[in-house]
């Protein structure tokens, strides 16, 4: 059922720093192309159209908490964040270390964070950066809460089939750590979110939960008719359905957010969207009549699509100096698993750190 858009407004909140952690191991499309069941010429065409090139993948066994702990230690050692300052820690992931306990508690325990740090896992993915910011801003409404850490992290390469050309060449692993706090200036942030569980099978890992536990049968590679081999333990994506979903649902949601803020498309400096691949972002920009230069699309070609971490990575590799300085007016938009689509209009500026580090 379609209803009105859920609207959010927040005052006096800001992002004060962003760090991305990416695995040091890099793989190229050309190295992996022979895994696919398609003529080389067609795979090269796919590379050209989608903008696939290099991506970062974890070594076997590396988990979300490993990337997150590495990144938080980096911030502690650099003096950008003190462990005791963390009043809230939200982990947004589709690939937790365990079914239970929450991976956010695993991170809390490994780092010895204080017991009154409010830790929560949130099951979200590609729309999860905006969802996480909404949760962080909401928690900051509490007087006692001064600083919230948002971690968007996934190791989806471990759940994709190397013989599935539909998904394998685009996935990357990463963690993004964002620090959120109060803003001394009277800033206003607008956001909108929509969800549609009737389309939840468009992006899913069928096995491994309690509905269909992993077994030798769910590990068997199958061709479901499109020359791609994947098991029920693997991530499935209906690519053309995702494309249609983004083209039809995301532009109106962004328009709603801008309308609520009374801001014109031309007044937005950058549209910082989730990064599924270059092709979809170019089509989205065309549909919204936004010049490609104002909607960065270069994350997948360098790092792969790392789910909720791609918006921070887009900021870090394209706009680091700007957001550490005077800043810009940014419209963030995420879209993916659920299905969920989210957008947010906010100023990014005065960040104390905005960098990317390798996990080795």
């Amino acid at each position: 059922m379609r209803g009105s858009v859920v609207k959010f407004t927040f005052r006096r909140k800001r992002i004060s720093g962003m760090l991305a952690v990416v695995p040091a191991r890099e793989r190229t499309f050309l190295e992996e192309m022979s895994n696919f069941n398609f003529p080389e010429s067609r795979s090269l065409k796919l590379k050209e159209v989608m903008g696939y090139d290099r991506r970062r993948l974890v070594e076997p066994g590396v988990c979300v908490s490993d990337l997150a702990v590495f990144g938080l230690r980096h911030l502690f050692e650099g003096g950008w964040l003190q462990p005791d300052e963390i009043d809230g820690l939200f982990l947004i992931t589709q690939t937790p270390d365990y079914l239970m306990p929450p991976t956010s508690n695993v991170i809390q325990g490994r780092l010895g964070l204080k017991q009154d740090a409010y830790c929560l896992d949130i099951s979200q993915g590609c729309a999860g950066f905006v969802i996480g910011l909404i949760q962080a801003f909401s928690l900051l409404e509490q007087e006692g809460v001064r600083k919230v850490v948002l971690i968007n992290a996934d190791v989806l390469s471990r759940k994709t089939s190397p013989k599935d050309r539909n998904i394998y060449p685009l996935v990357g692993d990463a963690a993004a750590i964002t620090v959120i706090e109060r803003d001394a200036a009277d800033s206003v942030i607008h956001a909108s979110v929509k969800m549609d569980g009737t389309r939840s099978e468009v992006l899913m890992i069928p096995a491994g939960g309690l509905r269909l536990p992993s077994s030798p049968e769910t590990a068997v590679l199958e061709d479901v008719g499109d020359k791609n081999l994947r098991a029920k333990d693997h991530l499935f994506m209906d690519g053309s359905a995702v494309f249609n979903f983004v083209q039809t649902e995301v532009p109106p949601l962004i328009e709603d957010t801008l309308k609520n803020a009374n801001v014109a498309v031309d007044a937005v400096d950058y549209f910082l969207c989730h990064q599924p691949n270059r092709f979809m972002l170019q089509k989205l920009a065309d549909k919204m009549k936004v010049p490609h230069a104002r909607m960065p699309n270069n994350v997948v070609e360098r790092f792969g699509n790392s789910s909720g971490a791609t918006i921070p990575i887009a900021v870090i590799i394209n706009l680091a100096e700007q957001v550490k300085g005077a800043g810009c007016l940014a419209c963030l938009a995420g879209f993916g698993v659920g299905m969920t689509w989210s957008s947010m209009l906010m100023r990014l500026g005065g960040l104390s750190f905005c960098e990317l580090v390798d996990y080795a």
């Binding site: 065409k45 159209v49 053309s240 494309f243």
Partner: protein, 73 residues
């Protein structure tokens, strides 16, 4: 329909496509081509079709009729 057939020919990397041609018979017909056609229909005709709609269309002409029937008035 001519313009539509020309756009299909570009995507399929052939000189020409005729209305009676079965798109599924072209060697370039794969998931990438299907997505490229879906994107073209969305951008140029304002029509969103599913991959299954394309797979079920028996010919380029049948697909054109489907696009016409879905075009917003």
């Amino acid at each position: 329909m001519n313009e539509f057939l020309e756009k299909l020919a570009v995507i399929l990397e052939v000189d020409e496509v005729n209305g009676e041609d079965d798109l599924r018979a072209f060697p370039q017909w794969d998931s990438l081509t299907v997505l490229s056609v879906i994107a073209m229909l969305d951008a140029d005709y304002g029509v969103n079709l599913r991959a299954a709609d394309l797979q079920e269309a028996a010919s380029a002409g049948v697909l054109w009729k489907l696009v016409q029937s879905k075009k917003s008035p």
